[in-house]
Amino acid sequence: MSAFLKVLEMNVRVFFQYRASFGISLVIFPIVLIVNVMLFESLYAYSGNDEIRGYSLTQMIWYFAAVPFVYVFIYNFAASRLSGRILAGELTMDFLRPLHIYYYEFAHAAASRIIGVSVEFLPTLFIYSLIYYPDFLTFASFFKFLIVAIFAFILMFQLNFIVGLTAFVLKENSAVSDIMNITLGLLGGAAVPLDFMPEAVQRVVQFLPFQYIFYEPLQYFLNQPDKAGVTPLLYTLLVQLIWIAALYVINRLIWAYFSKQFCAAGG
């Protein structure tokens, strides 16, 4: 545990050196929000409805505005870093480390998100609120969002690490990474709310982990009526935990199998 914390601390220090780069979001995200406001005000006015698929105008604007927030929580480079190491033959060095590469990468990802959340998420949320006030947001819904988003990060890390492990077989795995990104966009609710999808797709999505990374955190953030109270939150967290546990087991099994067969330069 102390080794994990040390790696976490080290990475926080490294990322903190590049805090200015995180700050660029503070300039770009508000522009995105303003354009979204104009876009959806125009669309709602043209459609003549106060609500579209259960979203008020404010909620719709904030849905698209808050997608980058979820990215700030979940974004990590585990897949590409692992693939890069395998391609370059550097994984051999990781076998010698006292800390397993899974935990090392988790610490790296957690460190980048700690900086991301503190430098990007919180200030951007504040600026957004000044531009377009989120009248739906309560302290409880915000708190629920934070918890679900943290679990979404862990879930996303599991998926990314599995994608990274495909490099044992494929070497270059950017296509697999792309598949996951598209899936997250369409079936996770990052590109468009799942409520816009045909019913058959919505039914299938319920049996997949992707909606628990984007769609579910956003529903809590938007304080949707079906997310009121503690029961829905406990249910969401339970499903997230089940997915995390299942994917963790898959991760370890894949690692156990392929790490024994791994052969870099030098044998």
Partner: protein
């Protein structure tokens, strides 16, 4: 070698990089085949999102479903072209500056930005380009549009000017990377900003429509070419084209300024 004198050499370099990228892709065959399919899927995300929004609202003012499909075709074609020509520029710049290898570009016989732009080819843009052409051809055959001798040349000129505008914005992004050094999510933010060009201008409020047509003419990529194919010409197209070329010169000037202040690790 500077200015127009460098152009033939840079074109040769671009072709050389094309061959390299194709060979690189062929080395990992599964990734290549999967990547081609994925890039097709990936470029289909925006059209799917738009179709879902179009069908769940009252549609877009001034656009029928058939015309929107043509618009999607142009969207796919532009997405493919820009990936094929510029796809690798930002990741390459990020990697070079981040690893301290950017300095080697400074000692090459061609201008650093020229070398960077010449290294932009990405094979994954091929599939969406073909898909875009097929969709445009199919939708044009079902639409009752009068064609003139200048329709196709004007369409191609607009695509070329669109490349100039895209290059201008890429150069600006490269300036940011050169100053800030570590810009992990710049590509994502860049794409987010540009995604406003994915919608017909008519759905934006008038002021924003003007902005995207003239001041920051994102409309030059998809809107103007689609309108040209639909025989709906507008005088703002000329302004948009002029501003695009001016922006290319402005961003190039800014690049030279940033480059003159670049100190590298040695100070």
């Amino acid at each position: 070698m500077r200015g127009l004198m460098a152009l033939p050499g840079l074109l040769r370099l671009f072709l050389w990089n094309c061959k390299l990228d194709i060979s690189r892709n062929m080395a990992y065959r599964f990734n290549f085949i999967a990547g081609t399919l994925i890039s097709l899927l990936n470029s289909g995300v925006a059209p799917i999102v738009q179709y879902l929004i179009f069908t769940t609202t009252n549609g877009y003012p001034g656009w029928t479903v058939q015309q929107l499909i043509l618009f999607q075709g142009v969207l796919l074609l532009w997405g493919g072209v820009r990936t094929m020509v510029f796809g690798r520029v930002l990741p390459e710049m990020n990697s070079l500056v981040g690893s301290g290898e950017f300095d080697r570009l400074l000692v090459k016989p061609y201008p650093p930005m020229g070398v960077l732009l010449a290294s932009g080819f990405q094979l994954s843009g091929f599939a969406p380009t073909i898909a875009g052409v097929v969709i445009i051809a199919m939708s044009l055959s079902s639409l009752d549009v009068v064609w003139h001798w200048w329709t196709l040349p004007l369409f191609l000129v607009l695509l070329l000017v669109g490349c100039c505008l895209y290059a201008a914005l890429l150069i600006l992004m490269c300036c940011i990377i050169l100053v800030a050094i570590q810009m992990g999510r710049l590509g994502e933010l860049f794409e987010k900003l540009l995604s406003f060009s994915d919608y017909p201008i008519s759905i934006y409020p008038r002021i924003l429509g003007r902005l995207f047509s003239i001041a920051l003419p994102f409309a030059i990529w998809i809107n103007f070419p689609a309108q040209t194919l639909l025989n709906r010409l507008d005088v703002t197209m000329i302004w948009g084209a002029i501003v695009s070329i001016v922006l290319l010169f402005v961003s190039h000037g800014l690049w030279k300024l940033c480059l003159s202040k670049y100190t590298s690790a040695g100070g």
